[in-house]
Symmetry: C2
Subunit: 555 residues, 2 copies
């Protein structure tokens, strides 16, 4: 509880350090505002600490940065988000049960010195150990899920050539932010994955995602706004009951835990909090979960999944399995323009479109476009080839200049970066053979595919365990310790909230359903990687919402 | 503590009422979702309750709606905001000490039935007792201060002519929202005032206001973003120290309590919370308060104002009195476009512009454009003239059809609506003589100017007292009770926070300074018109912020 101590209050003038002059781009002099080189030097017998740069601030990146010992390494996080989102509670914030900030952990508030640069890794020069970052610190930077447009063919996004000097040149894609170069000693790639839209028309433009805090906020504003819009008396563009029924249809695409939990939380919001305020509208409300699979919640066994379906049926939440969404568009005329009414085309319904006021998209994940860029890149012979010659060695010999060119291995099925059992980036030669590892480059979380366990799910649990394992190994003995012990996933089980104070829990040892599981669902989150601040705030808000109802202020 | 009881949880299907068919626009059948006419009839011996429509949800409108007895009147609130903002704590939310929603009270959560329509009163037909409302329930409707463009001449905004049937016709200004008509029995105009920009170039576009919760959020995002932007190492458009000094200059225009408190809270945020995270940037930070007057905090006596100045001087907050801002613009090139850097032209500095990253505008208020529209309107002879014949009567006789036309009285100096000592809307004849009152129309808060006390300040205190007085009189005995007792303002004193746990307090009885005043400053807010929910949340956040620092997550 060290963080409970009273924070010092700094009078003006107590900070006398001045920003140094613009520095050159060499490894040792890069400007990192939160770090004192002299301190590091004195602690380490005159030698500086190794800099570990972490790409991403999700379960993998933040979890790693949180576990890595700042006394042994200099930590620098690069991420478009300045905070970590406790994603399992995202649905709760989207309906106002929890306050948005109570599930956020600012990266800069990590204990011990930590460097942070907000932006996207635009490219990586593995040979020079340098990351090019497109900065973005605009007011609302990256608080919402961004889905990239259909990607160009690989030939249009070549990697940096060996000769490229990391200078900023005019490229075809003009970056919106400034470009900066950040050198590293060790690199942890934890940049996650993007939402998969399967190229379905209109999803990028009209669907809401639920992966970042800004998404939760926008969903919340939309739900409350729809009720307000349907509550007006007759006017010049009066909404008929059918119009209102369409606007108050909440469609969720994807029957995984995220979609199911959002449907459950939305049901609670509507029937516990909005029903007393808009009683006339409640009979017009409907919630539907669509999935292409024959069964939702595939990670639960049949009995628990059936329990979930029964619970939903009692709550009048429709679950439509084996339904294929084909297009999403705005409704015609003022109904679409002014009210944002949507039309969903579903294969099974032919030309009969379904109306909706909100479509929440929570299907699969697709690879981060950065991965394609990195794997298309030819690695310099003098760096990676050494590892190729010694596949089990993590500290390669860089004298062998005659080796053939190599590249990072990409998983054909998911597009992720392949790692060995130690979470080290796998390299291959031009023919796809002669496997090696890239020194000092690790990959964890949703963007990693372990070659020995390629079907590990892309979940917070996996990312979190990988992050902690890797950081602990590095704390213990650097690259040698990483090479010494492979990562093993331990399944802690899965919990999903079903609404009305019921949940289901499944693990290898047991399975639970109903309110007991609900108690575990809540309790589990209080022990997870949250700061003391949020461990206090979250149960406090649960109490406040229980006593006074969820927050319904819309702003 | 009635609201502490556990709220009922409504299962789906428990609400069996259906929305009635589209209804005609007569007084008795207007669709109000939250209200049961049959209930009202039975309680009132078969007669319906009088409908009191309230325009606005600020200190005046919300305070009135909160006090008016729902057993005696049907309450309908029309406001662009679906919530009341506890404005004295707005500056605290803008720096993250308090959570945004902890200072909001949703109108729909008022105890007892309350009708609510989100939108702006576009026009009022006093003869037919009908309000035309431009609806706006879009996702982020009205969560920020909107400053109207320079108003057209009065001839371009004619009132509804006597012959106009309140039908929706194509007008020159096309409304963005749907138009609906809401009839009333009694009307309380509490639509407030707009921010005064004095027509200074660039203020509308580039300054931040601090009057609504969305303003506080945008200021917060801007402040945190500026620190992040200045923390990058050298890049293609590297910021020099002078650039950073400009971006980290926070300018506040207006030395009233709002401006002073914001400067104080911003100082606390920077020096208590951001200094440990961005130590290199702190020497580049500056805060300046500009005012045209020779002295800030004009409502405090010289000694307390001097104490405030001394406190600010110790905190290195500059106060520049007798400075006249003449123009605000974006800086040239990428510095302005990408970083939003501003240039302030100040008369006293000639052509030497001052750089700033944020300009917060908190000078005076100007009349709501609706007032000009209403006072330009000719009132029908059969309604208002009766009151004119009996200036002291609130229930006029409407038989006299021969009276000359009349209009609402407008205060020449401030543009507000003139009221008598009983808060009733004052009417005059064409020549500006023969004063009367308009039956069933009351005006309170910032848009009201009492003819007997024209210099009452436009403060929350005045608005709140007027609201409570009027509602209590109506509860007691309707219009007759209002006519019976005039409103009397009681000065409760003024409190202003100065930063570093110091405040000043002045009332007729005493004056206080320092931390004692700070304790009162905090305590006072806990007893004011907040819900139990927020009376718990606000001190809870004070504790959390004190223990763990302010929230710095930016999203």
């Amino acid at each position: 509880m060290a963080s409970l101590q009273h924070r010092p209050r700094l009078p003006l003038g107590s900070v006398v350090r001045h920003v140094s002059n613009p520095v050159s781009l060499t490894l040792h002099h890069i400007h990192t505002p939160n770090r004192s080189f002299s301190l590091a030097k004195s602690k380490n017998n005159g030698t500086r600490k190794e800099r570990v740069v972490i790409l991403g601030s999700g379960w993998a990146g933040y979890g790693f940065a949180r576990t890595l010992d700042p006394a042994k390494y200099e930590r620098v996080v690069i991420s478009p988000r300045s905070y970590f989102v406790f994603t399992p509670l995202l649905a709760s914030t989207s309906v106002g049960t929890l306050e948005f900030r109570s599930i956020l952990e600012p990266v800069r508030r990590l204990k011990g010195n930590v460097g942070f640069f907000q932006g996207w890794a635009d490219d990586i020069d593995f040979d020079r150990k340098m990351i090019r970052v497109e900065t973005n610190a605009a007011e609302e930077a990256a608080s919402k899920t961004i889905v990239p447009p259909p990607s160009p063919s690989p030939s249009e996004t070549p990697g940096l050539e060996k000769e490229t000097t990391m200078e900023i040149a005019a490229t075809t894609k003009k970056p919106k932010g400034d470009l900066i170069n950040i050198p590293y000693d060790k690199l942890v790639i934890a940049c996650g994955a993007y939402s998969q839209t399967f190229g379905i028309e209109g999803v990028r433009e009209h669907a809401h995602f639920l992966r970042d805090i800004g998404d939760a906020r926008r969903i919340r504003l939309r739900v409350l706004s729809l009720f307000e819009q349907c509550s007006y008396p007759r006017g010049s563009d009066h909404l008929s009951d059918d119009d209102k029924r369409a606007l108050l249809h909440f469609a969720i695409v994807g029957g995984g835990p995220t979609g199911i939990e959002f449907a459950a939380e939305l049901h609670d919001l509507i029937h516990e909090d909005l029903a007393p305020l808009y009683p006339d509208l409640i009979p017009l409300v409907s919630i539907t979960v669509y999935d292409v699979a024959p069964k939702v919640l595939p990670m639960f066994d049949q009995a628990l999944a059936q329990y979930a379906m029964d619970t939903f049926a009692r709550q009048n939440i429709s679950v439509k399995t084996e339904h294929h969404l084909q297009r999403l568009r705005l409704a015609d005329g003022e109904f679409g323009r002014r009210h944002g009414a949507l039309k969903i085309k579903i294969k099974e319904y032919g030309d009969q479109e379904v109306g909706a006021g909100l479509v929440v998209w929570s299907t699969g994940l697709m690879a981060n476009p950065l991965i394609a860029k990195l794997t298309a890149k030819r690695l310099a012979a003098d760096g990676a080839a050494a590892a190729a010659n010694n596949p089990l060695s993590s500290s390669g010999n860089s004298d062998n200049a005659a080796s053939p060119p190599r590249h990072l291995a990409r998983d054909a099925r998911t597009g992720g970066l392949v790692t060995d059992a130690h979470l080290r980036a796998r390299t291959l030669d031009e023919a796809g053979g002669n496997p090696g590892v890239l020194d000092d480059v690790y990959v964890i979380g949703d963007c990693a595919v372990m070659e020995n366990e390629p079907s590990l799910p892309k979940t917070a649990q996996v990312a979190s365990q990988q992050a902690v394992h890797l950081a602990k190994m590095l704390n213990k003995g650097g690259a040698a310790a990483v090479a010494d012990r492979p990562f093993r996933f331990r399944n802690w089980g899965t919990l999903t909230y079903l609404g009305s104070w019921k949940a289901i829990h499944q693990s290898q040892a047991d399975e639970l359903r109903g309110w007991v599981a609900w108690v575990i669902w809540r309790g589990a989150y209080l022990t997870k990687s949250m700061s003391v601040r949020n461990k206090i705030l979250v149960p406090f808000y649960w109490m406040v919402s229980w006593l006074f109802g969820r927050g319904i202020s819309r702003f």
